[in-house]
């Protein structure tokens, strides 16, 4: 693991994130999430090949790359929804490669979904309360009424309010506006108290002029939470990411600060013709 730390750690101190400059340099010696030699293929289609990377704690990472580059696959591998053919995944110093998805969530590795994966007939408040109760270990209790868990309900309501959903949290999920459902995706993840939050295109399907507001909510999250997000809008990426990973064809092409990525010739080549930034 030491070899990887050398790759990523020195850059952290010199990073100048646009949004936030309070990077916890102390913890940068140990990555919060790292992978070593991850391979995955579906038949002859290679979707992940030799993926090594390490996320220092508290960063806002963007994972970018053309369609089919393997970004969502990488999230599926890290969260345990797919099993890698080879390689290892570490959360902090613990290997989690063989843990089930729910066990990884319990340890603080949490994701959201590109396509809304919500509870249509639960109200937003019920859904987030459910996630809070699961985290606190109250979800197996069947002889006490839900309203008796006042602090769990308060916590759920607090999360929803912090994402501007406080007013509409009594509505059924399916009745919420699409943008609110995207926020509820994040609210559910936050209720698990993640250490690392993997956001799979959090603004997917949200009108272009509304996505900065959504990302403002994301960048306002506690610095204790390390965030990796997939996003196609380069304007958003360069505004909100402190570091960027570029994937192409199941491989990590390059990893660095926004300035380094913007100046990288290989990245320009990949994005030739689709570049929206600068």
């Amino acid at each position: 693991m030491a070899a990887q730390v050398v790759v990523t750690a020195p850059a952290v101190g010199t990073t100048k994130p646009v949004v936030d400059a309070t990077m916890p340099v102390v913890d940068a010696t140990l990555p919060i999430l790292s992978t070593r030699g991850l391979d995955k293929s579906f038949g002859s289609l290679v979707v992940a090949s030799g993926i090594d990377f390490a996320l220092p704690q508290g960063v806002r990472y963007a994972l970018i790359g053309p369609n089919g580059a393997g970004k969502t696959t990488l999230i599926n591998l890290m969260t345990g929804m797919l099993r890698p053919d080879a390689g290892q995944i570490f959360l902090g110093e613990h290997e989690i490669t063989s843990l089930r998805p729910a066990e990884r969530v319990k340890r603080g590795l949490v994701r959201t979904f590109q396509i809304n994966t919500l509870f249509p007939h639960l109200s937003a408040l019920e859904a987030v309360t459910l996630a809070v109760c699961e985290r606190r270990g109250d979800a197996g209790t069947w002889w006490r009424r839900l309203p008796a868990y006042r602090d769990a309900v308060d916590e759920a309501y607090g999360i929803l309010s912090s994402l501007n959903l406080g007013h509409d949290c009594y509505r059924l999920t399916r009745e919420l506006a699409y943008g609110q459902q995207r926020l509820l995706e994040i609210a559910l993840a936050l209720a698990t108290r993640p250490k690392v939050l993997l956001l799979d295109e959090p603004a997917a399907g949200v009108p272009r002029d509304e996505s900065p507001a959504l990302f403002a909510a994301i960048s306002g999250l506690s610095q204790d939470i390390t965030v990796l997000f997939i996003e196609h809008d380069m304007g958003i990426v360069f505004r909100f990411a402190s570091r960027i990973i570029v994937m192409v064809g199941g491989r990590v092409l390059v990893e660095g600060t926004p300035e380094e990525i913007a100046a990288d010739a290989r990245v320009r080549e990949v994005y030739l013709g689709q570049k929206r930034h600068g």
Partner: protein, 333 residues
């Protein structure tokens, strides 16, 4: 009963309180269950059968309506409970209340064992597996005739008077009072359960089994637990039937019974607690009436009823009523 009332303002706590409040219709409904004693004294036997079937349907509602687990073999637990009560009474212990406990334990244990398989599957696979398990138990009881009496039915079931006082009479007075109290108590347990954090998790599994592990929920453990509780409840229903009729035949384990209870629940409306009870009333009264008119072809009418309900009331009779009252409320406000 889980219909959202998007009336904000009062805060999250009162919103959740409102969700689980006793409605006046509920109280009226339970008071109405007492009317057979006064108005239809000659139908008490039928009423007790309805209460027992309603309890069976309620047990299915817990897994199907709340956790989304389909079962075409739920009679296995009903029958296990019936045989447990019948066999124990045959060998000399006929105290009704303790027989219910024994039946619940036997059926619950069987349910717990099966739940390890159940929790791994969904949808079509689950239908096939529960169907197979149901047939398996049925044939096992058939071949173990030394214990169950096989196709001739269990002989020598002897139930003591309830609380050493009330005999199970010919008119069904004791049977109905007994089954109704049992149904009501089981209903209270079910109602508390679905309004608990565990009940919320079950609804989460029904609504989106993919998301549950992503919020760290042990879905399989939840499914194992509710399946065990549901099986125990079905076993109690079976024991009630054995006690109130003093007979146990292979029919208690039949596929027909599994299918009937599923029809009853869908008819009434799954996932609403009262759906199974209402479905049992409609189905069994209809069967009683139709079979009086034409004993051979009454299933024709049941079939017609079922097609009509699924076509026009996809969420059952209760679903239709809820929709009606919602639109009425919107109009009046």
């Amino acid at each position: 009963m889980t219909a959202a009332t998007p009336t904000a303002g009062a805060g999250p706590h009162s919103y959740l309180q409102e969700q689980i409040r006793w409605r006046w219709v509920e109280i009226a409904f339970w008071l109405a269950t007492l009317t057979p004693f006064l108005l239809f004294p000659s139908y008490l036997q039928l009423a007790s059968q309805i209460a027992i079937t309603a309890l069976f349907a309620l047990s299915l509602d817990l897994i199907l309506g709340y956790a989304g687990i389909v079962s075409l073999g739920h009679a296995a637990f009903f029958g296990l409970g019936a045989y447990a009560a019948g066999i124990v009474s045959k060998y000399g212990w006929g105290e009704p209340l303790s027989l219910l406990v024994i039946a619940a334990a036997v059926a619950g244990l069987a349910g717990y064992a099966m739940s390890f398989i159940i929790a791994r599957f969904r949808h079509l696979a689950l239908i096939m597996i529960t169907l197979g398990l149901g047939l398996l138990v049925h044939e096992a009881a058939n071949s173990a005739s030394w214990l169950t009496g096989g196709a001739d039915g269990l002989q020598g079931v002897k139930i003591w008077p309830l609380l050493e006082t009330f005999k199970f009479d010919l008119y069904g007075r004791t049977a109905y009072a007994y089954s109704l109290v049992a149904l009501f108590l089981a209903f209270l347990v079910a109602r508390r359960l679905i309004h608990s954090p565990f009940g919320l998790s079950l609804r989460g599994i029904r609504e989106n089994p993919v998301r549950m592990p992503a919020i760290g929920a042990p879905s399989r453990a939840h499914i194992r637990k509710i399946y065990t509780i549901s099986a125990a409840m079905a076993g109690v229903a079976g024991a009630l039937l054995a006690e109130s009729t003093s007979t146990v035949s292979l029919e208690v384990l039949s596929f027909q019974r599994s299918a009937d209870v599923l029809v009853i629940l869908i008819l009434g409306g799954a996932g609403r607690l009262y759906g199974g009870i209402l479905g049992a009333i409609i189905y069994m009264v209809a069967r009683d009436q139709f079979s009086g008119v034409n004993p051979q072809y009454w299933y024709f009418w049941i079939g017609l009823l079922l097609v009509a309900v699924v076509m026009f009331l996809p969420n059952g009779v209760l679903g239709g009523l809820a929709k009606l009252s919602a639109s009425w409320r919107r109009k009046s406000s």
